[in-house]
């Protein structure tokens, strides 16, 4: 276990380094730069700005300086905001996105697997059709449509919740629902197929023949085994939800981290591109590690020792 963890940790660091390097190279090879604008800025002013942010140095030197600062935990100054550093932006934006993400995750985890299990238990009956219609809507309707529909019907028509903005709990409800729909639907579909497979297994039949109540069979045996595929998608789902969604944050006017991903690229805000990418990659790598560990506890057949499975 310890050895496995150490190995995984080393691999994680190498992966992160690769992400940093590739992003750095790609970022600088895309046309445009942070100070290009439709303005009359004289060449000298432009050069002042380049010098201020070290963009006048050779790329390899910039890379080495960046890595050096990164080791000190310094993600640099944003090239567009004169108010916040990249560290400030992540510190401020992440809790906002994470809060929405966690709410969305709770909705998805509570309803997704339940919906899937429900559908499997009533396979090809009315509840199955209803559950799968909900799942198909969740998967196929993009979040910006979902957000817009929620705004129109819940916020505009019946005025139960605000259209957008940030500041109070009620501002978080619609975006959380909009964000939850896709993972909820994915989990429902995974759970349904996995549950159907489990329900056909011999050990379920054995359990039933022993006279164990149906509820106990479903909860203790079927759900526990059927949930594994759902757990496997949790790592990516959690990391996606935690760092926010550009579309949802834009539509609902939420000051989260998700906005920075696209805006930083549009603005060619190099330090912010690097900062958000590294942050996201770090979370993703960490989550995948947690999922592997969680697997081990849920399914004892999966061993993380040197002998392997």
């Amino acid at each position: 276990m310890k050895r496995y963890l150490l190995k995984r940790l080393a691999m994680s660091i190498v992966t992160l380094w690769a992400v940093i390097t590739i992003t750095f190279i790609l970022m600088h090879s895309v046309p445009g730069n942070p100070f290009a604008a439709e303005s009359k800025m004289p060449k000298v002013v432009y050069e002042n700005l380049q010098a201020k942010y070290g963009l006048d140095k050779p790329l390899t030197e910039q890379y080495v300086i960046y890595l050096g600062n990164l080791l000190k935990g310094d993600l640099g100054d944003s090239m567009k905001s004169r108010v916040e550093t990249v560290n400030d932006m992540i510190e401020r934006g992440f809790p906002v996105s994470a809060r929405l993400g966690l709410q969305a995750l709770v909705i998805a985890i509570c309803f997704g697997p339940a919906l899937g299990a429900f559908a499997a238990l009533y396979q090809n009956k009315f509840p199955d059709y209803i559950s799968m219609i909900i799942a198909i809507i969740g998967i196929s309707v993009p979040s910006f449509i979902m957000g817009t529909v929620l705004i129109q019907f819940v916020a505009r028509n019946v005025e139960w919740l605000p259209v957008g903005g940030w500041g109070e709990w009620r501002h978080t409800v619609l975006p959380s629902i909009a964000m939850a729909m896709m993972p909820l639907a994915t989990m429902a579909r995974l759970m349904r197929s996995s549950m159907l497979e489990v329900l056909g297994q011999d050990y379920i039949k054995t359990a039933k023949s022993k006279g164990i109540t149906r509820a106990a069979v479903i909860l203790k045996h079927a759900v526990r085994n059927a949930i594994l595929p759902v757990i496997s998608v949790l790592g990516t789902t959690i990391s996606n939800l935690l760092v926010g969604s550009f579309v949802i944050e834009k539509i609902f006017g939420i000051p989260g981290l998700g906005m920075f991903f696209i805006k930083s690229i549009n603005n060619r805000d190099y330090t912010l591109i690097m900062g958000t990418t590294i942050f996201y990659a770090g979370i993703l790598i960490f989550m995948l590690l947690l999922v592997d560990i969680a697997y081990m506890f849920i399914d004892p057949r999966i061993k993380l020792t040197k002998e392997g499975r």
Binding site: S39, K40, M41, P42, R92, I151, A155, G167, I218, P255
Partner: protein
């Protein structure tokens, strides 16, 4: 069966309870997270808070570092320059009570009124001297420092070739500021109303270089002061009790949300959450205009939408070809059917709304310099093409492209132009939409044939548009080079004689349009929406609507 159902229902119930349990802790946390959160319901009775949306997070609320509208709309309420504008667009004294101009039109001496900073300290001439020199400091690397290059010695200092001591802005005493210019500048007073020329408090900035980052330390001299700044969420201003003309201010405060999505902002306006909305989705503005909605105001704007023609590329180097392309465009159709926001078909490059030496509309004397004649265009096009040794077939086979940045409105206009050229000239051009940064990059590198361009003026003078096409200018993407044009413009820039200045500018614009350096399409407008119970909002052509003197009835 019923047993199964009960089991499942219980399962779902448990899940639902878990959800409620998981979500509820967020509720009590909310007030702690956003202490300044204010909603219409929480506004104390009788307080007049104007609510609106500022469509983007300001990059800075330090006037020296501001770069655009989303900063200037807030700064124009928290700061005031030496001069300012009245509702009619006339430049009037602001913090300066009066000024004198030397005979050689180079030295302005401003006398300051008794004005105070929002912390109660007096605004002095030393603050202005400090602010302008600070904005020029190369270490500060202010994007808009070049707006101060009119001051003698400013450019040299900013470019690292001169000393700060040679920048000719000097506080003679607390109340007197002397400014010497490089050359007579007919619109210098207008410039002193621009945000790069706003003062900052010398004492405050010297004591804390990060003063502009937090509302607690942000000090201004305008009618309002910054009280809350939740980044990317909202900004709140409160009336500044130290403002010298406080009796003209009716509002107790202004609440700016920061919502980038135009449609969401519009939904909030429509739902009664905003009193004014300055950026409307194009379809909304068009629909409001069709319905004659009284809440819609078509604000004037000093801006021109045009097409660059790359003069390095054959046959776009030929003036006849360029003119023919322009003549074959039906601008009225574009503004009436596509943009639909009250835009005006362009008559030249200088937009409507600027005055000339007599105080009359600038365009009145210069007239319409754009000819539209589809029949004549074809002949002229073929003539120009022949001069370049090219046939229509060769032109069509060359695969010329209109380049524009990704935006539905640009796409529709490009499609219309493409079709007009196909019908009227029998030529085919392709369309290519790219990301904004890529478009800029390709324009600067000359890697295009035809590209969409646009320019919004910085100050109320035709020069804000006309000097774009000086040879080698940073924004002269078309590569226009005409020594005669440069001579007229530079002479106009260097004289305070208004007759010479305006005559030169009119001549220069005519020359530019004869050469058809760029193809003007339309003059921008800024449609905005105001609720019927709001009074006192007006729009100056170079600014967002002025909300400073608004009143809520």
């Amino acid at each position: 069966m019923s047993k199964k159902l009960i089991t499942l229902m219980s399962l779902l119930l448990v899940m639902a309870i878990v959800v409620t349990g998981c979500s509820s802790p967020a509720e009590p946390e909310a007030p702690a997270e956003t202490p300044g959160a204010e909603t219409p319901a929480e506004t104390p009775a009788g307080e007049k808070i104007l609510r609106t949306n500022n469509s983007s997070e300001p990059g800075s609320l330090d006037p020296a570092l501001a770069q655009g509208t989303h900063e200037s709309w807030i700064l124009s309420n928290t700061f005031e320059g030496l001069m300012t504008y009245d509702a009619e667009g006339n430049v009037i004294p602001g913090i300066a009570e009066d000024y004198t101009l030397s005979e050689d039109n180079l030295t302005y001496t401003f006398t300051l009124r008794d004005a105070k900073w929002s912390n109660g300290d007096p605004v002095t001439a030393h603050d202005f001297e400090f602010s302008w020199k600070r904005a020029l400091d190369p270490d500060l690397a202010a994007d808009y420092a070049f707006q101060l290059y009119y001051l003698k010695g400013a450019e040299a200092y900013n470019t690292g070739e001169g000393s700060v001591d040679d920048v000719m802005v000097k506080a003679l005493d607390d109340k007197t500021l002397e400014v010497t210019l490089e050359a007579p500048t007919g619109y210098f007073l207008e410039l002193t109303a621009f945000y790069t020329y706003y003062p900052v408090s010398k004492n405050v900035v010297e004591a804390n270089p990060d003063w502009a980052k937090e509302p607690e330390t942000h000090i201004g001299n305008g009618p309002f002061k910054l009280t809350t700044w939740e980044h990317n969420a909202y900004i709140e201003l409160a009336k500044n009790e130290n403002y010298y003309a406080i009796d003209q201010i009716n509002l107790d405060g202004i609440h700016f949300d920061i919502i980038e999505d135009e449609n969401t902002a519009w939904q909030k306006y429509e739902g009664g959450e905003y009193d004014i909305l300055a950026t409307l989705p194009q379809a909304v503005a068009a629909q409001m205009a069709q319905e004659n909605n009284p809440e819609l105001v078509i604000g004037s704007q000093v801006g021109i939408y045009y097409y660059n023609l790359n003069s390095e590329v054959v046959p776009f180097n030929n003036a006849k070809v360029r003119n023919a392309l322009s003549m074959a465009i039906d601008r009225t159709t574009i503004v009436e059917r596509i943009t639909q926001g009250g835009q005006l078909a362009a008559e030249g490059v200088v937009p409507v709304g600027l005055t000339d030496e007599t105080g009359a509309e600038y365009r009145d004397k210069v007239g319409n310099l754009v000819t539209e004649d589809a029949a004549a265009a074809k002949a002229l096009f073929e003539e120009g093409l022949a001069e370049e040794g090219m046939t229509i077939d060769q032109f069509n086979n060359a695969g010329f492209v209109i380049l524009f940045n990704t935006l539905e409105a640009h796409n529709k206009i490009a499609q219309a132009v493409q079709e007009m050229w196909r019908t009227n000239l029998g030529i085919n051009v392709n369309l290519e939409n790219v990301e904004f940064q890529v478009k800029l990059d390709r324009e600067k590198a000359g890697d295009y044939q035809i590209s969409r361009g646009g320019w919004i003026g910085d100050y109320m003078d035709p020069m804000t548009i006309l000097d774009l096409w000086l040879e080698g200018g940073a924004f002269n993407d078309a590569g226009y080079a005409n020594p005669e044009y440069d001579k007229l413009i530079l002479e106009a820039k260097g004289t305070a004689d208004q007759d010479i200045r305006f005559n030169n500018m009119r001549e220069a614009e005519k020359m530019l349009m004869e050469d058809m350096a760029v193809i003007p399409i339309y003059f921008y407008t800024q449609p905005y929406a105001v609720k019927s119970n709001i009074e006192g909002i007006y729009k100056l052509p170079i600014y967002y609507p002025t909300i400073t003197y608004a009143d809520i009835k």
